[in-house]
Symmetry: C2
Subunit: 415 residues, 2 copies
């Protein structure tokens, strides 16, 4: 096994330099990384094809293969994210707050990088460039451990970006990728409290639970995204249909896709037949509650387990609810505090939903698919948090910072 | 053992109500709690005397007995903190940021309570009222588990405050104190992921390490406060003497007291003899480096372990350093990222120290004793964080909140 402690010590040492790096140097490095991705796209796609081929051989689901696959357009999107990140205001050194105390102490709250971030991830190769871009911009060092499913893609992207990092004189250890496939490495990394400041696991629930179990380092994560759309009795049904269809079908393999649709019983008979036909035409398998099956016969019945399930595929569970209370109660019981939406024209219902649904992102009249760092104007995201500590929702450069208090005195002592 | 899960479920249920509680009701409850503390101070002092008596019998150190002891003045300070907290702006529902996206989505970042906070603490009984006050104001529920050293004091304070909570119709489960002394209770509490959102351990390093080891719930903590003051070559030596004396002597049993004094060698001969005499007159035991002992003979030599030690008592380690680089290096090696100060008239030296010392609070020309929620204008603190995730330095009502994204659309879907 490679020397994990040494590797982390190098990152820790580099983090001192990274935290005081010239903002213009960081932006320049990001821009040259973006150009290099485009220039090397055929190389990256060639390497990616190896991963896609093995995935097909291993009978991986269509949605997961979609997450893995790179093409010119997706590489262009990766490059665009780096450019967008380069244009964001440098967060390091921002003064968040100034307090003048009665004893004339001046207390400034100043934004600082977190230090060393460990990202453990599975099959989406764009994560590699997003994590490097966001960490660099926010003055952090990043250690990346990607999954074996995307190993060729990740190596290729890392090689291209690391080359630019070296050309732009980033400190050695600023970005690190662990290529050793030994499974014990993850646990060895999670023991480096004092050298690693934050762990961001991205991937399946079992991976994340294992990280939580073994880490004494703080972890920011979401286990899964069981996202709901509730179609209220006062909804514009045409709008509801467009929003629900988009939330399920546009990219089913991602965590902000809808997994359960809740429909108010007062409009269920009017709404469900057309909506379900449209889903079935797009290849979506519906699993309905008793009421749904009564209204549109012939579909599979949902069981208790379905309401908890993140399908990440063209499958949708559908439930008819009596009212908004039942919708909120269902979401609080089965949801994952990720992203939930209401479609309604009733302002009061909207406010109740937005206040009472305790999720990172709550929507009125929009698709849950917008929960995304780039869509939020953050350039990209290093992950999504469904916890309430430090960050919630998309984690971008601001969430990758901490702060320190800088206190200016003139000899003050405590009485 | 009491039913921990049930107790946590009650707190979780109450947290829904707490999060939407009328701000005026919260302030009113805080004011009546403050009045009740004053009214019942002789009862509280009588109960506290039992704890102080057992501590004396158990040969607890003077500084720890100081932390434990309550008198009229300290109870008045507890009440004043509650009043100050009541006057702070209600954090819940504050809009932290609004983003309008090109697709006309409006994204608001809204402050929300964290939910259920568990505080595990040792011997300072004022923690009981501070935690209740801060949790209530920030819309959180709090579960408190105090140490056996202060059990009578804590029970008395809790009884007085809980009585006011009930009178003011706070939801049942809003504030909970665990009276059962069974040591297994802490581990049972740390298993309640999903019911408890945050753990704040306060006390000795071994307690905190045990909490970190056993918790899957996020923890905010500091292990210890090995705070430094560096007297630079350009310091006003009179000011340096006042600051260092205050930082060590004014209340040695607390985490923001100075444990190590670093002195630039260019002023060591001029500064140290008077300074050390003043310390020794106040009963401070000095442990010096080789150079210190040469300048002021007859004192104890510091060994390697001393530089890492939080004495929490009238003991001080003293080291002569070549320059600011050595001072910063010493602090980064032996310090605890809590609070560190420089005394200097050189602006450049000050800026270097403030930027490069990676501690929660960095001071120029002031005593480290100011690292405190009340001194920072936060009314009180529920703890101090030396980590970089979520909160750093004193943890007050703002640090006891999270946020959610509330997104208003008009039918937007993702392209």
């Amino acid at each position: 096994m490679i020397d994990i402690k040494l590797l982390c010590q190098k990152a820790r040492a580099a983090s001192r330099e990274m935290s005081i790096l010239d903002p213009e140097l960081k932006s320049r490095a990001l821009r040259s990384m973006a150009r290099a991705l485009i220039k090397n796209s055929s190389y990256i796609i060639k390497e990616n094809a190896k991963d896609v081929k093995s995935a097909r051989k291993n009978n991986i689901s269509g949605a997961l293969i979609d997450r893995l696959t790179l093409d010119e357009k997706r590489i262009r999107a990766m490059a665009d994210s780096l450019i967008e990140i380069s244009k964001l205001k440098d967060p390091v050194g921002q003064i968040l707050e100034t307090r003048s105390r009665p004893n004339a102490l001046s207390i400034k709250k100043v934004r600082v990088p977190i230090g060393v971030i460990l990202v453990i991830y599975e099959s989406r190769p764009n994560v590699t460039s997003d994590c490097i871009g966001l960490s660099l911009k926010s003055g952090n060092c990043v250690i990346m451990r990607g999954g074996s499913d995307a190993i060729n893609s990740n190596r290729a992207i890392f090689a291209v970006l690391n080359n630019e990092a070296l050309k732009n004189k980033l400190p050695e250890g600023a970005i690190t990728m662990i290529r050793d496939a030994d499974r014990n490495i993850v646990n060895a990394l999670l023991e480096q409290e004092g050298l690693i400041d934050l762990v961001m696991p991205r991937g399946g629930e079992s991976l994340i639970r294992e990280v939580i179990r073994n880490s004494r380092i703080p972890v920011i994560k979401h286990y899964k995204g069981v996202c709901h759309t509730y179609v209220d009795e006062s909804a514009d049904l045409g709008m509801a249909m467009r929003i629900c269809f988009n939330a399920k079908v546009q990219r089913p393999g991602v965590c902000n896709a809808m997994e359960t649709m809740l429909v108010n019983k007062k409009i269920a008979k009017k709404f469900l037949p057309d909506m379900i036909r449209r889903f079935e035409d797009a290849g979506v398998e519906i699993r309905g509650c008793g009421e749904t099956v009564k209204i549109v016969p012939g579909m599979k019945r949902a069981d208790e387990g379905d309401w908890y399930t993140e399908y990440l595929d063209l499958i949708l569970s559908v439930k008819v609810v009596d009212n908004i209370d039942e919708a909120i109660k269902h979401i609080m019981k089965y949801g994952s505090n990720h992203s939930d939406a209401i479609v309604t024209n009733d302002k009061k219902a909207a406010e109740r939903f937005l206040n009472e649904v305790d999720s990172a992102c709550v929507y009125v009249n929009a698709s849950t698919r917008f929960t995304d760092g780039n869509q939020f104007g953050k350039g990209a995201e290093i992950g999504i948090s469904t916890g309430k500590i430090h960050a919630r929702g998309p984690v971008g450069i601001e969430e990758l910072t901490s702060y320190k208090y800088v206190i200016y005195g003139k000899g003050q002592i405590r009485k």
